[in-house]
Amino acid sequence: MIEVNKDNFEAEVLNYKEKPVFVDYWGDKCETCKQLMPDVHKLEEKYGDKIKFCSLNTSQNRRLAIAQKVLGLPTMIVYVNGEKAEVLTPDKISSAADIEEMLKKF
């Protein structure tokens, strides 16, 4: 997983064109996010060749998250050519299976 932040978000996510980019928006105080993390790493092993995996700590990059219209955790977004292609808001994530369903579309 590539840790993205305000300095590299544009290069690693918005301007990246080779394959879809998955961004796991998480935060220091979000227990659900932390419990999902090992499963997301497993998903990277499975889908990493087709999709680029990134994570973004919103506690340290609040403005960036809000600019991406993320105001709740966990949020999972897949970007294609810098545009949001799929968004999973917190209410749509009860387990890693929900994330996998989204990734299967790419």
Partner: protein, 309 residues
Amino acid sequence: MSNVYDIIIIGGGPAGLSAGLYGSRSKLSVLVIEKGKFGGQATTTAELENYPGSIENCTGPALTERMKKQAEEFGTEFIKDEVVSVDFTSDIKKVLCKNGEYNAKAVIIATGAEPRLGGFEREIELRGRGVSYCATCDADFFEGLDVAVIGGGDSAITEAIYLTKFAESVTVIHRRDSLRAAKSLQEKAFNNPKIKFIWNSVVTCAKGDEILESLTVKNVVTGETSEISVNGVFVFVGLNPITSVFKGHINLNESGYIPTDENMRTNVEGVFAAGDVRVKSLRQVITAAADGAIAAVAAEEYINEKFNK
């Protein structure tokens, strides 16, 4: 038949974890099945100041993590899976999950409850975009911004106070003219300069382009409506039990909660319920933990009588 556990506990919140601890300490084989996050709703609470012994640095996540570890040390097994159906008709109970089937002599249902929706327009659409049900998870997005809290009970007021650490202002919108929360909480809230109150009012609509910008608030006495500008709204208007998968297999009351006797027995032999999912007057970590302990002991007694004669 595959491995038969003594007890399967469905749900890994404080009730399930405490049942796991008591069960495995009695040398029973115990499996806890959790679909989402271990710790349950307690992981969304920043400060558990009403749990005995938790005077300082006792966050919900920290406490429930310790509960899990303690149960694990005595031998409780944990898996992440989601229950899709159950068969409680034989002596050996079957629990069918997405990734496998599990069998046990007794089952403890500790699936808990989840936040009820506020019931205003565009609520679902703006979830994770300003509409939240978890202050601990999302509070730090709102540093220096204005937020609202809907509700007047313990959860609403506790979280409103917590949010003042981040937000510029916290407006509590409550449909009555007084709070239901504990008096000590009310006092803290009334003395907090960042907290404002809008009484006798409900939120009818959330507005905003992609993210929340304002709420339409209706006074239920006068019928007047007004707009308040907020970037976040936290909804704490009660709970719904998580019992749909058990419908038709055990008795539920009209709200979906599970009635039990004082030993946590449901109407089906060998099936127990513990914690928020049960019909009870006080839904707290302390009462969930107590339920879990009682359920595990009752399950042990049941197993001894039924299977070990």
